[in-house]
Symmetry: C2
Subunit: 349 residues, 2 copies
């Protein structure tokens, strides 16, 4: 006799290819749920471009409070060319990340041997980027004066605190400690952004003292992009600021099989609010609704969600199903749903 | 009978491999000078780590005023681990770029067929990045409070003006107009950095109206890194902000034969002060003084210098010599001086 555990899930399909890939992620979640003695109670939230056009709303506070009551959030993608750039990104996606204190934006990168990399000799790639998620240039602390005139001035302020940097750095060290290679690389630009950069560097140096087994490295962000294409296997855990993390994780996705495979978790490690899982890719409006999107990144994000809920075996079942599916990819075109079906079938065992 | 024209050159060899590669760049400059009826009067400035250790000075104003009197500046590299990160970068390199109003930081990227790219199928790569050089997150407008305490807060302010953005955007459009493909890509992050990003976007849209032949494209910086590894041949002229330009030009160098070949010009297009030419690479202290550095980037920077002084043929002679040298590279190790000698010999014709 086994007990069934129920989890609540807030689902935000969002824009563009978001709904399609989310459908497949949910399909795969359901396929593994039964085997692992869990069920998922889902509430879908209609947020994104359509909602904004209809009501002018991006994420009303009342809805945010509803969402907050769930065990986790699954998000598809946010952003549409019909909406001024930034409105949905700031008003919906970043509002969720910031309000729910998702200070660890976790983005693993792995090269599957069977998937082509644009690199000629990528080597063995298996690293994870711990991107800070609640500070840096993303805080929305900026403004503009005399907009549209020749005297316009626009500022963007990167805000970094010891509080915010230390907690994400600690998380990254703990992750490095749990990995076989035990290596941590701080990526910043402390030769130019000296105030923020030195805070990051000092924090890493201080926390490193508590983790004597970890090899610690520092790279300027520009140099990090070089190594990501010339020697990506040197990386194990990368910890970095919100904007640098945004940039290098897209590059990391590109070198390791493409943005169609890159999953992410916006994690609140203190569990004071639900964590949120989403593919690294955007809403790709050009291919939306055509069943052309690869749902693998969304499906792997669902696996990270299970992991976060402590359902390690179920998470592993999805990961293994994805690996098996990827290994058999022939290059023949499959629809979004066909890929989802194939992975769901494997994941169900 | 031909007339000899004399140009004055301020030379800042700087740190690490800077002096070695600068020696070769000067050797090649001299080799082409005679043929093209020019001479270069050089003054060397002893600036960098050694000077700072000895005197605490990075770039005294009096010396800056001396440097300003020259026709152009040739710089090796700046930065050393024995000096706190940022001291020389901000106090010397960026002080030169900012004070001399180098608002166009020009960084061409080209794949030489014979040079290996880390990309499996790079395609034909020949683009130029026009990186803004006097604004953005590089302005040094930031600070820190309660440094070293758990209550520390550090900020970095990106400052962007219509004045500063428009002039570099105009320069980029003019360059695109002069190139066969006539394509310009703005790279920014206007879905998050909405104030600065929208200023850039509006400026590009406005100037585009005056250049009807140019195809204009926009990419978020994260997406740009993806295309730089999956489809770099799509780029012709990229215009971008100071920090994004820093990041993507290192990546661009990496995919197109490496940082050993990447040249740059810090250009003051209004000629109110001398422009400065330097390799994109850093001071590489780990290999300094060992004749291991590739001087090609410094030599190509000297070619950009000649171009800027209107010595187009001499510039071309260096470029052709470099191309010929690169085409015959066998992978056998040559010293810094040997590479310089070989290119100088070819350039002298
Ligand atoms: C859509 C955008 C706001 C977002 C970001 O910049 O964080 C995306 O690029 C990502 O990486 O999740
Ligand atoms: C050394 C450093 C200050 C510099 C920069 O960030 O501009 C370098 O990386 C470059 O690209 O020229």
């Amino acid at each position: 006799m086994s007990e069934t555990k129920n989890f609540t899930l807030a689902v935000v399909p969002g824009d563009g290819i978001g709904p399609e890939v989310t459908t497949e992620a949910l399909k795969v979640l359901d396929a593994v749920a039964a085997q692992h003695g869990v069920t998922f109670d889902r509430t879908e939230y209609d947020l994104g471009a359509k909602r904004w056009h209809a009501t002018g709303e991006t994420l009303p506070d009342a809805e945010l409070e509803e969402i907050r009551k769930h065990d986790a959030i699954l998000l598809g993608a946010v952003g549409d060319p019909s909406v001024p750039s930034g409105v949905l990104e700031r008003g919906l996606l970043l509002k969720l990340r910031f309000t729910l204190d998702h200070y660890v934006n976790l983005r693993p990168s792995k090269i599957y041997p069977s998937v082509g990399s644009p690199l000629a000799n990528p080597g063995e790639v298996d690293f994870v980027v711990v991107r800070e998620g609640t500070e840096g240039p993303y805080v929305g602390n900026g403004g503009a004066l005399r907009v549209g005139t020749p005297a316009e001035i626009a500022t963007e302020v990167s805000v970094n605190t010891a509080y915010g940097v230390e907690r994400v750095v600690r998380d990254a060290f703990a992750r490095a400690q749990a990995r076989p290679r035990k290596k941590l690389t701080l990526v910043h630009k402390n030769n130019v952004l000296v105030h923020a950069g030195h805070l990051w560097k000092r924090t890493v140096d201080a926390v490193a003292a508590e983790f004597p087994e970890i090899t610690v490295d520092y790279l300027h962000v520009d140099a990090a992009t070089i190594f990501l294409v010339t020697d990506p296997s040197r990386f194990d855990v990368i910890v970095t600021d919100n904007l640098f993390g945004d940039i290098i994780t897209d590059l990391a996705a590109a070198i390791s099989g493409g943005i169609g495979l890159a999953a992410s978790g916006n994690i609140n490690p203190d569990r004071t609010a639900p964590s949120m899982f989403e593919p690294v890719h955007g809403s790709a409006p050009d291919i939306a609704g055509q069943q052309k999107a690869d749902p693998t990144a969304a499906i792997l994000s669902a696996s990270l969600l299970l992991e976060h809920l402590g359902l390690t075996e179920a998470a592993k079942a999805i990961e293994d199903a994805v690996t098996a599916d990827i290994e058999e990819r022939t290059g023949a075109a499959r629809s979004t749903a066909e890929i989802g079906d194939a992975i769901a079938k494997r994941a169900a065992g």
